[in-house]
């Protein structure tokens, strides 16, 4: 298999209970021949035990003991498959329990979101919620699968009605690339193989859409941002003066000789060398893990950011974020949290809840300032020192933060810089 230039595409699947999400994933894995014999055998046995006809594709995504017993998904699970065109990572997120928390987690690194709609029911409240989160997390591509087409006689009219319904409500959301596909996960129509039942549909199947989405420009290539993770100082004789700044390029492109500034100090220098592992390279771009050395001996440490001299992020100590609350205990105004942004940590307080979002109606409620589990709202955050921020819309890596409760060490919130 020659797959050397294949890209990696991460996608998340969202759906409500019984809309066939597990069946769809099972179908994708099965029809793309990603299921092994022993897995198939084990699922066939379980299907027979449960009295299902044939193989229940949904069982391929079964996970923990409790999930199998209760027939639900509790936590995000990751699935993998490869086709001759791409490698795929599916973040399979549960449809009900702690919905927002899990979907936000799965969505945070996704290139694409697959949203399922039951053709018999059309757009429901959960569809709106899923779409809102996909748009909030700025997932570059959205694929709306209208499932169970077999149960509406593969009707073009039903399909078109749902597309219109979706477009009407989603006009309030910011989404760049939305596609619609009529499918039957159960029977396989338009999942991997083209359906003979939907001659009125001309575009690609779900798999061919996933294989051809243009994802090279999903990462910001304009604004060069390099958060320093750690400083490499080898103890050996021949490298005595070596100071390599190690990190993963968050966005943009760096070249040897570039004039750079180190934030927050503002000291300026030039890139002397760039290494990718043992290999010296002339340029580096997101998301490469590299180390670089600078011409001048200046103080650089973890949490600093190396940027281009003439393209710098905002330096703020007080800023607004859209915050998703993930913990059982509600947000406490004025309480101190640890804020993590790239490799930089500070202490922070939530100064004010500006408004809470009703994720079913997209309405803003500025009277209600209580953020509890699975709530989303716009808040003002104040930090002990300045943070080097970009808007999340422009840069997912340098526009995202988490809050950690200092008394429990739990990750309690995820935020996107407005």
């Amino acid at each position: 298999m020659i797959i050397d230039n294949n890209q990696l595409l991460r996608f998340t699947t969202a759906g409500s209970v019984d809309d066939g999400k597990s069946t769809l994933i099972g179908r994708l894995l099965f029809d793309s021949k990603s299921i092994f014999e022993d897995q198939l055998e084990s699922v066939s046995n379980t299907s027979a035990k449960k009295g299902h006809d044939g193989v229940d594709l949904a069982l391929f995504t079964d996970g923990l003991k409790d999930e199998r017993e209760q027939g639900i998904t509790i936590d995000v699970a990751y699935r993998y498959f490869t086709t001759p065109k791409r490698k795929f990572i599916i973040a399979d997120t549960p449809g009900h329990i702690q919905y927002t928390r899990n979907m936000v987690t799965g969505a945070s690194t996704a290139n694409a979101a697959v949203i399922l709609i039951d053709a018999r029911h059309g757009v429901i409240e959960q569809t709106k919620r899923h779409s809102f989160i996909a748009s909030l997390l700025n997932i570059p591509h959205l694929i709306v699968c209208i499932n169970k087409m077999d149960l509406v006689d593969f009707s073009e009219e039903v399909y078109n009605g749902i597309v219109t319904q979706f477009e009407e409500f989603s006009s309030k959301l910011l989404m760049k690339d939305v596609r619609f596909i009529p499918i039957s996960a159960l029977l396989g129509d338009n999942v991997v193989n083209r359906s003979k039942n939907t001659n009125w549909y001309q575009d690609g199947t779900l798999l061919s859409t996933l294989e051809t989405l243009h994802i090279s420009s999903d990462i910001n290539k304009i604004d060069a941002r390099f958060p320093v993770q750690t400083v490499l100082r080898p103890q050996s004789e021949e490298n005595r003066d070596y100071r390599g700044y190690a990190g993963r390029v968050a966005s943009g492109i760096y070249r040897v000789g570039d004039e750079v500034a180190v934030l927050p100090s503002g000291f300026q220098s030039k890139i002397k060398s760039i290494n990718a592992g043992e290999q010296e390279v002339q340029e580096a771009y997101a998301p490469m893990s590299i180390s670089m050395t600078l011409e001048d001996d200046i103080d650089v440490s973890r949490g600093d950011m190396i940027v281009r001299k003439n393209n710098q992020p905002e330096m703020e100590q007080e800023f607004d974020v859209m915050l998703c609350w993930l913990a059982n205990d509600a947000a406490k105004p004025r309480a101190k949290y640890t804020i993590v942004h790239t490799s930089h940590e500070e202490r922070a307080i939530i100064k004010e809840v500006v408004y809470k979002m009703d994720i079913n109606t997209f309405e803003r409620d500025s009277e209600n300032s209580n953020l509890s589990m699975n709530d989303i709202g716009r808040v003002k955050i104040r930090t002990t020192r300045r943070m080097m921020l970009d808007a999340y819309r422009d840069n997912r890596n340098t526009g995202s933060i988490i809050l950690i409760d200092e008394s429990t060490n739990e990750t309690v919130a995820a935020g996107m810089v407005v």
Binding site: Q7, F36, Y78, T82, T105, R396, N409
Partner: protein, 301 residues
């Protein structure tokens, strides 16, 4: 603009290096859990890249069941010497001698589950706050739920239903005294990715992975190597077969497959045509539907 993207192997490599560097930055005393298998060899290789030109800043920790392939131990010792890193060995035999654990009895007795106690003891006595493992999410359904940074309480236990959400690339390794973390830098790699990368980078791996002649008996649908620990059962015959191992565990439970693949290129070809999962020949996973989940909750790798 179009040339500025990574292929999937480079992206997986970059992600793993990022995680290894986060471990180094966030923990006081991390180690790499080294079994001598391809996944922990891969993690060690990635660590070398992550910290170049510095040495790997982690010790290798090996939980030695005493039931090893001699080739694995030789490979381990050679690698430790080449890299100039410290080796910590936790010995299951010692745990048995000290009365910490009791040897399993019966015909399918193994030392697999006993490793949990030895591993947790070694983590505690060496004050390790993060143990880096080569676990992959594609291996097994319980492992599919793992985080990159996976919290363990002060009993070393994993609570899969109550894990910290992991968003973007922001990893939270904060912990209290006595607790530790497991880190899984190659979570997103599949068996095929591992082999493709080993071939691309020409990483050296134990000879056991290549086809070779060996005395074996057929048991539980695979070829179990003859060793001093193997008790022949009635009706079992020792045969000489050309086999190789797809995964390496204890010599007592690791089944080989018949194969002619004696180069990395042939292994990649063979694995891509495989119709069975890698752990399908591991009797430790066959004990029950949730064998891995049960062990993992107690503190297994």
């Amino acid at each position: 603009m179009s040339k500025y993207y990574l292929n999937y192997l480079d992206e997986l490599e970059s992600e793993a290096i990022y995680i290894l560097r986060e471990v180094w930055a966030q923990f006081e005393n991390p180690v790499i859990l080294f079994s001598g298998g391809k996944d922990s060899i891969l993690v060690t290789h990635l660590a070398k890249k992550a910290f170049y030109p510095s040495k790997i800043p982690f010790a290798l920790m090996h939980v030695d069941t005493g039931h090893n392939f001699p080739e694995t131990i030789q490979f381990r010792d050679d690698l430790v010497e080449k890299l100039g890193v410290k080796l910590i060995v936790g010995s299951v035999q010692e745990s048995i001698n000290n009365g910490r654990v009791a040897e399993e009895k019966g015909k399918n007795a193994t030392r697999n589950a006993l490793q949990i106690t030895t591993l947790l003891d070694a983590i505690e006595s060496n004050k390790v706050d993060c143990a880096i493992g080569g676990g992959r999410r594609d291996e097994e359904k319980a492992r599919a739920k793992e985080r990159f940074f996976s919290h363990r309480d002060d009993f070393g236990q994993w609570d899969p239903k109550n894990q910290r959400p992991e968003l973007w690339n922001l990893l939270n390794g904060k912990h209290f005294e006595g607790e530790h973390f497991r880190a899984f830098p190659i979570s997103n790699w599949t068996e095929m990715d591992v082999w493709n990368y080993i071939k691309r980078e020409n990483i050296s791996i134990p000879s056991l992975y290549f086809a070779h002649e060996r005395e074996v008996v057929f048991r539980n649908n695979s070829w179990i190597p003859v060793s001093e620990y193997l008790k022949l059962e009635e009706g079992e015959n020792v045969e000489n077969k050309k086999i190789r191992f797809r995964t390496l565990g204890d010599i007592t439970i690791t089944g080989g497959i018949e194969s002619d693949a004696d180069t990395l290129g042939k292994i990649v070809q063979e694995v891509s045509a495989m119709r069975k999962t890698e752990r399908g020949d591991r009797s430790d996973d066959k004990r029950s539907e949730t064998a891995m989940e049960d062990r993992k909750k107690q503190g297994y790798f």
